[in-house]
């Protein structure tokens, strides 16, 4: 690999969305030689065939231990080493473990060239988990709204209330009991299920 050419980066990730986000980020930053691996069968032979300069893997992946074996295989033409093996970058290791990503560089690539790649992976991984959190929150908000609508329906039917009155009753009960409206609505659903 010449000093100018883009290093070949292999992304090992079972989450296709996260891998796509990562690849896009790397390409935007000018790293054009990126390959995604989402299939863990024969991982090692696929990596040997690809012969990447950098391997990025998510920490939820049990196959990370498979990569550790590459340090042992003396017959491999190029031996990978773990990120920042010279111990000078504890902060980088911490940031990447926090973000849930790990990287390996293969002999021959200068350490300075890994830093921007790893920084990018860390920020994309963090962005992905933020996205995931938002998605989870939206999902649970939607869930809550469904539950509240059903609870309102029950109150309207049982107590002859209008929809607005049913909502006010839910809200005031929630405030009095220091609970979320969704929780009160859920307990109404559970109770009505029990009394059916």
């Amino acid at each position: 690999m010449s000093a100018e050419s883009s290093p070949k980066i292999a992304i090992v990730d079972e989450s296709p969305i996260r891998a796509a986000i990562l690849e896009e980020g790397l390409r935007e930053a000018g790293f054009t030689d990126v390959v995604r691996i989402s299939e863990m069968q024969s991982l090692l032979s696929r990596i040997y065939a690809l012969d990447p300069d950098v391997i990025v893997i998510d920490l939820e992946n049990p196959s990370r231990d498979i990569l550790e074996q590459m340090f042992q295989v003396s017959r491999a033409v190029r031996r990978p080493i773990a990120m920042f093996v010279d111990q000078s970058d504890a902060a980088s290791i911490q940031a990447s473990v926090d973000a849930g990503v790990s990287a390996y560089i293969v002999d021959g690539l200068k350490k300075e060239r890994l830093k921007p790649i790893l920084d990018l992976c860390i920020s994309r991984f963090n962005a992905f988990s933020k996205l995931q959190d938002e998605l989870d929150r939206t999902k649970s908000a939607l869930e809550d709204r469904k539950v509240i609508d059903r609870a309102k329906g029950i109150l309207m039917k049982l107590k002859g209330l209008t929809e607005d009155e049913a909502y006010v009753l839910l809200r005031s009960t929630a405030m009095r009991e220091k609970k979320k409206i969704g929780e009160i609505a859920q307990s109404i659903l559970t109770t009505s299920e029990l009394l059916k």
Binding site: P62, R64, Q69, F71, S74
Partner: protein
């Protein structure tokens, strides 16, 4: 309650002591506030322990030594004041490989020398017929699994680097890999050997105790710096683990221990398989043959929890034998100092006399291990790596 502690573990039966210590309140009784964190890879456990996300961890004993020596990764000195598991590994062969070995067997099928010689003949026949070399799975480069597998086959004349392929596989992938024919055998801890037998894809060839009478596989690992700063916490952890290990060994508590471990947040496999493992009664083949061994999986008995520096020296010797480490008196000292019987004794108020005098390695082949002469000991073994 003290400051909250985070302890990482891999879902395996030899995490029992830690899981029970927390779940049955032995840690709380010591005033400890422990959160267990289930992990998916040994690399994660090592890294999270090294950078301080974990205060302690269920760790492969050789990883604790490799980390202290800076082998394969950054150098972080680790201490092990408590053994979490001895003799829990087993070697399983695919149905086809098992049959091939049995067909070549000259001797007792539980005699590791007889099976290793038979394996050597199987390997020679495959080479002659132009078949692909056999592939064996193990869990990590720095693992007793790797060393036990290598020790066994090398004794029979099989060079583990030249005659077969050894590949790392995460334990939960072992059974699928042997079922799909990607590997022909593996060495792994409980419960995965039993699960391969239950699924009808393999037979248990050896308990690790056939190969070594006594092998420290997993330890409670703590950063040396943290340990030095928090001696009371370390002592409290050792005491809680000791009580838990005693509890786990009680026959009347084992059904409850199996139910606890079976929960999805811990090991998440069938409680019956776990119970058989704890009792040292393993189904070794599809026909239902049960093999019992009092040597299998030592957690709290026979002085198992007390770290023995001779074990650390043996593990370091294997690293040298297989080219993972260079030989030096200093490195040997570092390796031995990872295992800390002094911390164990101090925590439990012991005077350091051994609970069990038979703390030898007890390998089935080669001369008795001499922790003070690694080079001389290794000279007795013909098959060994010349690197690095």
């Amino acid at each position: 309650m003290t400051k909250p502690l985070h302890i990482g573990f891999i879902p395996l039966i030899d995490a029992a002591t830690l899981i029970v210590a927390v779940d049955k309140g032995f840690t709380a009784a010591e005033g400890l506030d422990v959160t267990l964190v289930r992990e998916v890879s040994w690399s994660n456990v090592r890294d999270k322990l090294n950078i301080g996300l974990f205060d302690a961890a269920h760790l492969l004993a050789p990883v604790a030594i490799a980390s202290s020596l800076g082998l394969g990764h950054i150098k972080v000195p680790i201490v092990a004041p408590f053994n979490l598991g001895l003799n829990g590994n087993a070697i399983t062969a695919s149905t086809a490989l098992h049959a091939a070995i049995m067909a070549e067997l000259d001797g007792d099928r539980f005699d590791p020398m007889a099976t290793a010689l038979a394996l050597c003949r199987v390997v020679a026949a495959r080479r002659k017929s132009g078949a692909e070399p056999l592939t064996f799975g193990m869990t990590f480069p720095f693992s007793t699994h790797n060393y036990q597998l290598r020790f066994w086959m090398a004794a029979g004349g099989v060079d583990p680097d030249d005659d077969v392929r050894l590949v790392v596989l995460p334990p939960p992938y072992m059974v699928d890999s042997i079922a799909s024919g990607q590997i022909d055998g593996f060495c792994v801890g409980a419960p995965w050997n039993s699960i391969a037998v239950d699924r009808g894809v393999g037979q248990i060839l050896h308990f690790a105790s056939d190969i070594l009478a006594r092998a420290a596989e997993k330890v409670l690992a703590i950063r040396q710096g943290w340990s030095a700063k928090n001696p009371e916490l370390v002592a409290a952890l050792v005491r809680a683990a000791y009580r838990a290990a005693e509890f786990v060994e009680q026959p009347q508590s084992q059904p409850e221990v199996a139910r606890i471990l079976a929960r999805p947040e811990y090991v998440g496999v069938d409680a019956d398989v776990i119970l058989r493992t704890l009792q040292g009664r393993l189904k070794i083949s599809q026909d239902g043959t049960i093999r019992e061994s009092s040597r299998y999986l030592l957690l709290g008995r026979e002085g198992a929890p007390r770290p023995d520096p001779v074990q650390a020296a043996w593990l370091y010797a294997q690293m040298v034998r297989w080219g993972q480490a260079t030989i030096s008196a200093d490195a040997l000292q570092v390796a031995k100092a990872v295992f800390r019987p002094d911390l164990y004794d101090a925590a439990l108020g012991r005077d350091g006399t051994l609970e069990d005098a038979s703390l030898a390695i007890g390998a089935f082949a080669g001369p008795a291990f001499d922790a003070d002469d690694i080079a001389g000991h290794l000279a007795a073994f013909r098959i060994r790596s010349l690197e690095p």
